[in-house]
Amino acid sequence: MATLHTRASARLMMAPSVILLFVWMVVPLAMTLYFSFLSYNLLTPGAHNFIGFLNYSYFLTDPAFLMAIGNTLLLVIGVLLITVIGGILLALVLDQPFWGQGIVRLLVIAPFFVMPTVSALVWKNMLMNPVYGLFAWIARGLGITPIDWLADVPLFSITLIVAWQWLPFATLILLTALQSLDGEQKEAAEMDGAGAVSRFIYIVLPHLSRAITVVILIQTIFLLSIFAEILVTTNGGPGIQSTNLTYLVYAQALLQFDVGGASAGGIIAVILANIVGIFLIRLIGKNLDR
């Protein structure tokens, strides 16, 4: 009897927060779903008629849509490649004992604390500006014509900016994984005749596989929804060259005031993100089972 009472009262006590969280999550999703079937444009007030899947077909056949999906994938894959490979290399370096290790580790982690808008602006104005940017200055010093990064290679530039932000995260996770590697295992491999490269391939890399999986999964979740960096640097341009799915939905809703179309885009983005998620879990999630 006592446990039954305890359980009932516990449920009662928890109910408000559970309900709040549930409503918080479900109401926006339900409203988005509802809007996506309406003809709802803020510029044409009046009745919002039910128009079925018209918003979806409109969004899916938009030429910008395929471009946006391609850009999203390129951005995610590019950043993942740079951060995972760079993160492993940096972690290997930081794992070595050297003078000033503490300060160097702190500096490596620093970019992670800079908010996305700020770091994107710093890159845009201080580094990548074709007239007074640092890269342009270096290029002129070497006698090369400076590149107008954000106009000529917009997606690559954004990839660089985002990779710079996420590199510390990857480095940090991989460094801790590296430090948990048993020293005797490395020594055993050394006794077994494995050189430095073989030791890395056969001992260190398999040991890191779990951490790499975690890095890829977590980063993918955040990288699918990159927005601030695009907004403050290229505004999705030139044209739609650096528009990803998130930015396309934003443009639909807040630049064209098409709430219905943007909602449809949002739902499509959610579905696509889930497809990517399923793929990832299938592909590399088994690393987590050990």
């Binding site: 005797e184 295992q185 055993a188 006794m191 005749g193 494995a194 398999p206 040991h207 050990r290």
Partner: protein, 333 residues
């Protein structure tokens, strides 16, 4: 094929001299055990031989060749680590095959050698398992398997049995001894357990504070310990040591006699005492006696000698097996 010589080998970490200078010869095919209390430098010495640590001074010769500056892989030695150091993401097969693969041997040769090693070590049924799915004893055998496939000049064991329970330790002790008789390869074995040293070694090297106290066969060390340290370290339960007048009577600073070299009686003897604790092992009984003359004394009695705590007993030491030591703790012969 596997003789190892140390010539004035020294090792210091910073300003601490861990090993102030050691000379030692290990013959081919010998089973040598380094034994000593923790922190005596025995593991460091093994790692110096393996090449995992650099010597501060002196030379290490393997088969007469100076390898002091050679990397571990070039010394032709194999090592079994205390934690086994198996590669957790590889199957047992791949673990054992790893050194051969690093040696870029042909696939069929590797397969033959791995299966042969697995057969010798009773691992055939476990070849596809991961180390995480094995018991402690099986992991130990995989580690040994990984060492033997390379057919090294010598094996180095770094306290390999310390993670096993008592029963398994006994079995593995015999298995390693059998392996040595079968392979006839030099083995260097580090342990802090003098029972492992006594049971397995051809030659025991007793180390203390980075110095060699005595080198000899197990029975040599047991019968004629060179000094107080060896006398106290070898033998279980440890030797009784007595100082003072009784020792003076025999022209020594300290006299020592082993628990098994005391004749016990309930009626008469040279010394008398009260039984504190009696440990009945069945085959024999260990008595911790509070003697009237010299305080606590341990004696080993026959299993049939039944006494209880608090009872009076008389002891007569076997004078022929008494050990005498001078002021420096060295044995007087």
């Amino acid at each position: 094929m596997g003789s190892i010589s140390l010539r004035n080998v020294r090792k210091s970490f910073g300003t601490t001299d861990v090993i102030p200078g050691i000379d030692l010869d290990i013959e081919d095919g010998e089973f040598v055990v380094f034994v000593g209390p923790s922190g005596c430098g025995k593991s460091t010495l093994l790692r110096l031989i393996a090449g995992l640590e650099d010597t501060t001074g002196g030379r290490i010769l393997i088969d007469g060749k100076d390898v002091s500056d050679a990397p571990p892989a070039k010394r032709g030695l194999a090592m079994v680590f205390q934690s086994y150091a198996l590669y957790p993401h590889m199957s047992v097969y791949k673990n054992i095959a790893f050194p051969l693969k690093m040696d870029s041997q042909a696939k069929d040769v590797i397969d033959k050698k791995v299966r042969e090693a697995a057969r010798v070590l009773n691992l055939t049924d476990y070849l596809e398992r991961r180390p995480g799915q094995l018991s402690g004893g099986q992991r130990q055998r995989v580690a040994i398997g990984r060492a033997i496939v390379r057919q090294p000049g010598a094996f180095l064991f770094d306290e390999p049995l310390s993670n096993l329970d008592a029963a398994l330790r006994g079995t593995m002790r015999i298995e390693i001894s059998e392996l040595h008789q079968h392979l006839k390869t030099t083995m260097v074995y580090v342990t802090h357990d003098q029972i492992e040293a006594m049971t397995m070694a051809d030659k025991i090297v007793v180390l203390n504070a980075g110095r060699i106290e005595q080198v000899g066969s197990p029975l040599d060390l047991y019968r004629t310990p060179a000094n107080l340290f060896v006398a106290g370290f070898i033998g279980s339960p440890r030797m009784n040591m007595i100082e003072g007048a009784e020792a003076g009577k025999m022209q020594a600073k300290t006299i020592g006699f082993r628990p098994e070299h005391i004749r016990l009686s309930q009626t008469d003897g040279a010394w008398s005492g009260t039984v504190g604790v009696a440990e009945h092992l069945g085959s024999d009984t260990l008595l911790h006696i509070d003697s009237d003359e010299f305080g606590p004394i341990t004696a080993r009695a026959d299993g049939d000698f039944v006494v209880k705590s608090g009872q009076r007993v008389f002891m007569t030491p076997d004078k022929a097996r008494m050990h005498r030591f001078d002021e420096k703790g060295l044995a007087i012969r």
